[in-house]
Symmetry: C2
Subunit: 333 residues, 2 copies
C-alpha cells in the first residue's frame, strides 16, 4: 500500500521540507490547496511542478490522501487539522501546531474522536541529522544522564519577505509558541521528560518598535523530574551570517556533554550538522550530516501501523501545551 498526502495552506516555506521529506519516505503528494497567492507558492510550484493545485478546500479534504501536511498561517492550522482528521487524514503540521489553548483543546478532541495522528514537525530536531546522532549518543549513555539542555534559536528577520501575519501577534501566536516550541520538544526528548513546569518566561520587542505585534526576543526555563532547560529565541540573526541562524543545542550530562551546531560553525568547519562530544574518553567535533532523518519514514510507518515511533501523541501535546503556557506567562503582567 503506497501512502499519499495533500498539502493544506502554503504560508510558510517549511512546507517545502515537509513535502520533500515525506516524498523521500515514499508518501506521494497528490495535490495542494492554499488561500490566494502566498509568497512561498512560486517556490513550491518550482520544486514540485507535478503536484496539482486543488481550488477548493473541500476538494483537498476529500481527496482520499492518508496524510495532510499543514503549513497555513499559524492561527489557522488547528482548524485545518481538525477538518483533515474529520475527513479521515492523519496530520503533520508545521510548528506551531496551534496558537491558543482553545485550539489545542479542539485538536485533542479531534484526535480522541477520530483516532488520527497529530504530528507537529519540529524541524529543528526532525530535519537536522545532527539531532539524530545526538539522540543515538544519548541513548547509548555517552554522556550519562542528561540533566540540562540549552536551546538557542536565533532567526533572521528577513523583513522584506515577510507577510503581514508575521507581524500580527494573534496570527503567528507569539515568539515562544512559534519558535520555542522547537526547543521545548528538544528538552523533553533529550532529557526523557514526559512533563515539565515553566519556571520563567519572558518576551520583548527590543529593536522593532514600529512593529508592536512582533516579539523579537523570547526566553523560557523548564524544570522536570529529569532536569532543567533554558531556551532563548530571537529575530536578531545578523546579515553577515551565511545562513538564517546559528541554532545550537547543548546537552549537559552527568558524564559528558554534547553541543550541536546545527546550521553553521562560525570560523570552524564547513557545512552543517556539527556535533561536539566530550566525555570521559572523547573530546572531538564531528560531522553528523549523514546521520539521517528518521522522523519521516517513522511517521509513514506510524500511519500504516497506527504506532507511535516518530513521536508519541502525548509528547506532541505536551510540547504545544508548554509552549502556550510559556507564552501566557511571558505576557502576563
Amino acid at each position: 500500500m503506497s501512502l499519499t498526502c495533500v498539502a493544506l495552506g502554503l504560508d510558510h516555506r517549511h512546507i517545502y521540507g515537509m513535502t520533500e521529506n515525506m516524498a523521500k519516505a515514499g508518501v506521494r503528494c497528490v495535490g495542494y490547496w492554499t488561500l490566494g497567492e502566498p509568497a512561498i507558492l512560486p517556490g513550491f510550484v518550482k520544486r514540485f511542478p507535478e503536484i496539482p493545485r486543488l481550488n477548493q478546500l473541500e476538494d483537498a479534504l476529500n481527496c482520499g490522501a492518508d496524510l495532510a501536511l499543514i503549513s497555513a498561517i499559524p492561527a489557522d492550522r488547528a482548524d485545518l487539522t481538525v477538518q483533515a482528521m474529520q475527513h479521515g487524514m492523519d496530520v503533520m503540521s508545521d510548528k506551531p501546531g496551534c496558537t491558543s489553548f482553545e485550539q489545542l483543546d479542539h485538536i485533542r478532541q479531534a484526535v480522541s474522536d477520530t483516532g488520527r495522528i497529530w504530528s507537529v514537525n519540529f524541524s529543528e530536531r526532525f530535519e537536522t541529522p545532527v539531532s539524530t546522532l545526538a539522540s543515538e549518543l544519548v541513548d547509548s549513555g555517552a554522556i550519562g544522564k542528561v540533566v540540562q539542555t540549552i536551546g538557542l534559536g536565533p532567526h533572521r528577520l528577513n523583513r522584506l519577505t515577510r507577510p503581514e501575519w508575521f507581524f500580527q501577534r494573534d496570527r503567528y501566536g507569539g515568539i515562544l509558541t512559534d519558535i520555542a516550541s522547537h526547543q521545548i520538544d528538544q528538552f523533553l526528548h533529550y532529557t526523557g521528560s514526559t512533563s515539565a513546569e515553566i519556571t520563567n518566561a519572558f518576551v520583548a520587542n527590543y529593536a522593532n518598535p514600529a512593529d508592536p505585534g512582533l516579539q523579537d526576543f523570547g526566553e523560557l526555563n523548564l524544570r522536570s523530574a529529569q532536569g532543567t532547560g533554558y531556551i532563548r529565541v530571537d529575530w536578531f540573526t545578523p546579515d553577515a551570517l551565511p545562513n538564517w541562524g546559528d541554532g545550537r543545542l547543548t546537552l549537559l550530562g552527568t558524564e559528558g556533554y554534547i553541543e550541536l551546531r546545527k546550521y553553521v560553525d562560525v570560523g570552524g568547519a564547513a557545512g552543517t550538522d556539527h556535533l561536539i562530544l566530550v566525555n570521559g574518553e572523547t573530546c572531538k567535533k564531528q560531522d553528523a550530516s549523514d546521520a539521517g532523518l528518521p522522523y519521516f519514514s517513522r511517521l509513514a510507518h506510524d500511519i500504516k501501523h497506527r504506532s507511535e515511533t516518530a513521536m508519541t501523541q502525548a509528547h506532541c501535546f505536551t510540547v504545544m501545551d508548554l509552549a502556550l503556557r510559556a507564552q501566557e506567562m511571558a505576557e502576563s503582567p
Copy 2:
C-alpha cells in the same frame, strides 16, 4: 611610590594568579599568612620563593602593605577583608568575596567606615584576555545594544585534590554564590546594568549523593532594565577535556552577537581565548589571547588615586548581593 601587597589565606589556587598579575602591575607581595598547610601552599612557594611566610595574622595585618590579597576558605574571607581594611589596606578578594548577607553587610560597613576598596577578582572576566576584547567590541557598538547574555561555567570536580571545606555548604557558600558570581559580574558588565532581579534559581546534586553538602549543578536567570541573563554552572567537566572547563559567554546584541570560548575550542583552534563575532559585516572566529588583562593595572591605579577604573565599588557589591539572593532563592523550599 611603589605599591605592595600581602597574601592572606592560601586556600584556593586562585591566589597564584592574583599574586602574579598584581606583580606584573608593579605591586610587590611582601609576605603571606595562611592557616596550617593548605594543599596549594607548595605551589605558591614554588612560584614565589622570594615571598616570606608571616607566622601570625597580626604580623600580616600590620605589615604596612597597600593591598591584601585574600584567598582563604570562602566563608572566612569577609572577616579577613574587614580586618585588612581596619588595618588600612585595600582588598582584592578571590571570589566569592563572602558567603552570607551578614558578611556582606560587615564588608559594606567596613568600606563605609574606612574608605578602603573591596575588589572581588572575578577571574573568569579579569583573567581572560578574550573578555577584554569583548568589552572593547561592545563598547564600540559592534553588536548594537546587548540585550542578553548566557554564561556557562562548567568546572572539573577533581575530587581527590579537594579539601574538606569544598564539600561543606556553609564553608564554600553554595554553587551559585561560589561560581555563578563570575557570570553575574559578566551579565551586569556587558549589558551595562547597575541592578537586576533574580527571576529563577535552582541548585541540585545530581551525581554526588555521597557528598550531601556539594551542589554539582546550579542555574539562575537575571532580568534588568537592559536585558536578561541566563547562567549555568556545574562540576561535571569530563575527563577527556584538556582543561578544567569549557567556559563560555554569549552576548546577544540587537545588531550582532559575540561568543567567547575562554579556555578551549573543542575540535577547533588551538589555545585559549577564542572570540566569535557576527554582525552586519563580520562573521569570524579570532584569537584574542593578546588582548591584555587591564583589571590589575587599573586596580593599582585605583589604589594610588582612589578611583574606580577597575570596577566600581557598587558593581562589586551588587554582584555579590545578587549571587547571595540567587543562592537563597534556589535553596528556599
